[in-house]
Structure formats: structure tokens, C-alpha cells
């Protein structure tokens, strides 16, 4: 089915006939204030008008950072605008999977965008886990625009946030049952790491080291310094 280019109509209570997600208009997964800022933004009006799941790629490959809203005016990031567009389009499952896999391998911000969408819009908790968990092996760097400045993150870190936090990119994420709960209900197999035992061993070592560092009271402030430098470099 085609959609109307004008999003105001999609937000019109009376007019909405599109796909329902979590029993409601998917655009409402974003809070009203955020929706209004997106629809009023120049990026939305100029760059998001008339996109479909194919032309959305043109914009997604140009993304250079992710984030929610920033600055005093709480301007929405292009990332957030495109996520909103995805909620309007509700692309077929295979398309989202293509964004995540083959296309996501090439364009990391596209992968992050699709992961954010899956977390917001997919209704089966077990599918959210099985779809997003493989991305925990992707350690590419991402820039995140925060309300006040910039932060360095990684694809795996971002996905971890999506699975663990309740608020990401100016958006309250829908409720997601904890993994163990789904395992107990036998809706999910226990997670097998992609790298197997080797990685487990590494993680164990990591944890030991972390324990030592924390024990000494030397929290990794120097690391943070490096991170912000890298962000600045990437400009």
C-alpha cells in the first residue's frame, strides 16, 4: 500500500488506516513533543519527504552520527527523523533484515537505525533478541550526539543499550521482557556467543582485570579522554 507523503495525515487520529504496532499508530512510539519537533524540522521537510524504503537508503548512508535531540532547542537528529520515517513506512520484515545484514555491514549507521527500529517496532520479544544479538559482534565506532555534546560509542554498545536500557535517543522503548524470563518460558534458547569459548575466556579475563582496576580506585578516566579526542578527530 502506498502512503501519503504528508505525515500530518498519518498523525491525524481519524485518518490513520496504516499498520498498527503494539496496537497503535507506530508514529506514537515517539513522544508528542519529539514528534512535533521532527515534523517542524527542516531536515524532515526537505530530506524525508516522499521517501520509501529504497530511497531512505540514500539518506541513511549519509548519516554521520546518531542521537535523539540536541541543543537548547532540542533539535532532532537526522537519525531520529529517519527512525520516525521508518515508523511511518513500517517496511516489510525482509527489508529491515536486509538493512541490518548486508546493507548494515557496509553502512554502520544504517545498521544502527534498523536496530533502533526493530527494538521499537517488532512485537515479539524473542525476535528482538534473536535479531539484535548477532550485532553484538560489531565493534565499529559510532558518534553519538548528546544533548550537550558528543560521545563515542560502538555498534555493539548501542545494541546493548537497546536491549538493556529503557530510554534511548529521546525515546522511551517499549517494554521488553528480560532474556532469562524468555528462556524460562522456553521462548528463547540460551544465548551462544558467536565466537564461542574463546570469547567467554576473554570476557572472564576482562572481568578480572576490571575488578582489579576498580579495586585500586583508578577508574578509567584516561580512556574517556582518548574517546572524546577520537570523536573530535572524526569531526
Amino acid at each position: 500500500m502506498a502512503h501519503q507523503a504528508d505525515a500530518r495525515r498519518a498523525l491525524d487520529e481519524r485518518g490513520y488506516t496504516g499498520t498498527l504496532i503494539h496496537g497503535d499508530n507506530p508514529l506514537k512510539l515517539f513522544e508528542k513533543a519529539v514528534r512535533d519537533r521532527i515534523i517542524d524540522s527542516y531536515y524532515w521537510k526537505e530530506q524525508c519527504f516522499g521517501l520509501n524504503a529504497a530511497t531512505l537508503l540514500d539518506r541513511a548512508v549519509d548519516l554521520t552520527f546518531l542521537g535523539g535531540t540536541y541543543g537548547v532547542a532540542q533539535k532532532p537528529t537526522p537519525f531520529l527523523c529517519l527512525a520516525f520515517k521508518m515508523l511511518q513506512l513500517t517496511p516489510e520484515r525482509e527489508i529491515v533484515e536486509f538493512y541490518l545484514s548486508q546493507a548494515g555491514e557496509e553502512f554502520k549507521y544504517l545498521r544502527a537505525l534498523a536496530a533502533f527500529y526493530v527494538r521499537l517496532a517488532w512485537e515479539k520479544d524473542e525476535e528482538v533478541y534473536t535479531t539484535l544479538e548477532p550485532l553484538l559482534n560489531d565493534s565499529r565506532k559510532l558518534k553519538r550526539r548528546t544533548r550537550e555534546g558528543w560521545q563515542l560509542t560502538y555498534v555493539d554498545q548501542f545494541v546493548d543499550d537497546l536491549l538493556g536500557k529503557s530510554r534511548v535517543c529521546a525515546t522511551t522503548l517499549p517494554k521488553l521482557n528480560p532474556r532469562v524470563f524468555l528462556e524460562d518460558e522456553e521462548r528463547l534458547e540460551p544465548r551462544v556467543s558467536g565466537l564461542g569459548e574463546e570469547l567467554d575466556e576473554l570476557e572472564d579475563e576482562d572481568e578480572e582485570e576490571k575488578g582489579e582496576i576498580n579495586g585500586n580506585g583508578h577508574v578509567s578516566s584516561s580512556e574517556e579522554g582518548e574517546d572524546s579526542e577520537e570523536v573530535a578527530e572524526g569531526g
Binding site: A2, A5, R14, Y42, E46, Q47, G50, A54, V61
Partner: protein, 212 residues
């Protein structure tokens, strides 16, 4: 002032985009029409059940195109920093061609890019340019094709950047070589002019080897 282009990078008066329909497309169109009328019937019925009045969408012309995304950023750079005198109350667009952002199809001028883009998205403009305001859904195949194209495009850009960079380095090297040669020549000239052949020590007039 350069003639303003439409949102799609082409002049909006250009009608070459209008498709010439072949039989197949015509059949598809007919089917689409039928589907729409079925949908409308359903919507009308549902509205009646809910006790609401049914509002039909404005009818779209037969040959209307799907609305598509802009191919490129709107070119607003050449307007930045320019002051243009606009009559008061021109927010709705001023009839005719004037200073600012001109829409060819609607013969309206807007004073800033925001109002201009809002106009390009408006129903009025879409009707005037023969667009339906409806965006066709993309298939997985189209998504894949688009991805392959973007990937190629990015690879080409990267390759060009590399070529550009090495070309720039080469140009800079030649330039430096020429300047060094020129300095050497002047130095020798001066040395010949002084009797002892040692030249004037403080006669450096070049700019310390800065490449201009």
C-alpha cells in the same frame, strides 16, 4: 539570478517526466483504480459504522505520478546572505517571479527556503506538478538495487578522492619545484650584481617558501 530549479533537480516546467503508457501499465493502472474504489467503499462503510462522516481524498488525475523523494538537497546556498526586499505578508508566496525562491510550476516566489520547501510539499504544488502525493512502497528488490547503486557510488567517490589527492600532491610538488628554481635564479642574479659575488644578505623578498 540563475533560474530556480524544481525540487527534483529539473525545471518543474519540464514535462518529459510524463510517462507514455503502454498496455501493461494501463492495465495495472485500471486495476489500481478498481482497488482504490474498493478501498473507498470499505472506508465509507466503516465510517458509517463508526457514526462518522466519510471524507474522500481529493481525486487525483489519471496520469499523476507517485510522489518521490528529492534527488538532491535543495540548492539554497546561492541565496544565503542575500537580502531581498519582500512585500509585507508575502509568507504565502508572491505571485510571479521575484527575489527569493521561485516555483516555476506554480509561478510563486518565496522569501526563504523553509517556506519554499513547505510549498514544494504542499498539496497545491503536487497537483500543479501532476503528482498524487502518494508514495509507492518499495519492494525488497528495489531496496537491494538501491543499495548496490549507493555502494558503487561510494566506491567511485573514494577512488576519485584518492586520484584527486595524488593529483593535488603532484601539482603542489611541481609548483614548489618552480618556485625553488625561481629563487635560485634570483639569488644567482644578485650574486652576480655584487662585486664580491657574495650577494646581498637581507634581500629575501619571497614569502618563506609558502606555496600560494
Amino acid at each position: 539570478m540563475a533560474e530556480r530549479k524544481g525540487a527534483y533537480g529539473t525545471s518543474t516546467s519540464d514535462t518529459s517526466f510524463r510517462r507514455t503508457w503502454d498496455r501493461e501499465e494501463y492495465a495495472a493502472k485500471a486495476e489500481e483504480r478498481e482497488r482504490k474504489s474498493r478501498e473507498e467503499g470499505k472506508a465509507r462503510h466503516e465510517a458509517a459504522l463508526a457514526g462518522k462522516k466519510f471524507h474522500r481524498r481529493a481525486s487525483t488525475p489519471e496520469d499523476s505520478r507517485d510522489t518521490e523523494a528529492r534527488q538532491a538537497r535543495l540548492n539554497v546556498a546561492d541565496q544565503v546572505g542575500k537580502t531581498s526586499l519582500v512585500p509585507a505578508g508575502a509568507g504565502q508566496g508572491k505571485r510571479g517571479k521575484g527575489a527569493g525562491f521561485y516555483c516555476d510550476a506554480c509561478d510563486l516566489t518565496y522569501k526563504d527556503n523553509l517556506q519554499f520547501v513547505e510549498h514544494l510539499n504542499s498539496k497545491q504544488h503536487l497537483i500543479n506538478t501532476g503528482e498524487s502525493g502518494e508514495v509507492r512502497r518499495a519492494t525488497l528488490e528495489e531496496v537491494k538495487d538501491r543499495f548496490e547503486w549507493l555502494k558503487r557510488k561510494r566506491e567511485d567517490e573514494k577512488a576519485r578522492e584518492v586520484v584527486d589527492l595524488s593529483a593535488r600532491i603532484e601539482v603542489a610538488r611541481e609548483q614548489e619545484e618552480r618556485e625553488r628554481e625561481e629563487r635560485r635564479r634570483k639569488r644567482n642574479e644578485k650574486r652576480r650584481k655584487t662585486k664580491d659575488g657574495l650577494g646581498v644578505q637581507d634581500a629575501r623578498v619571497e614569502d618563506d617558501g609558502v606555496i600560494r
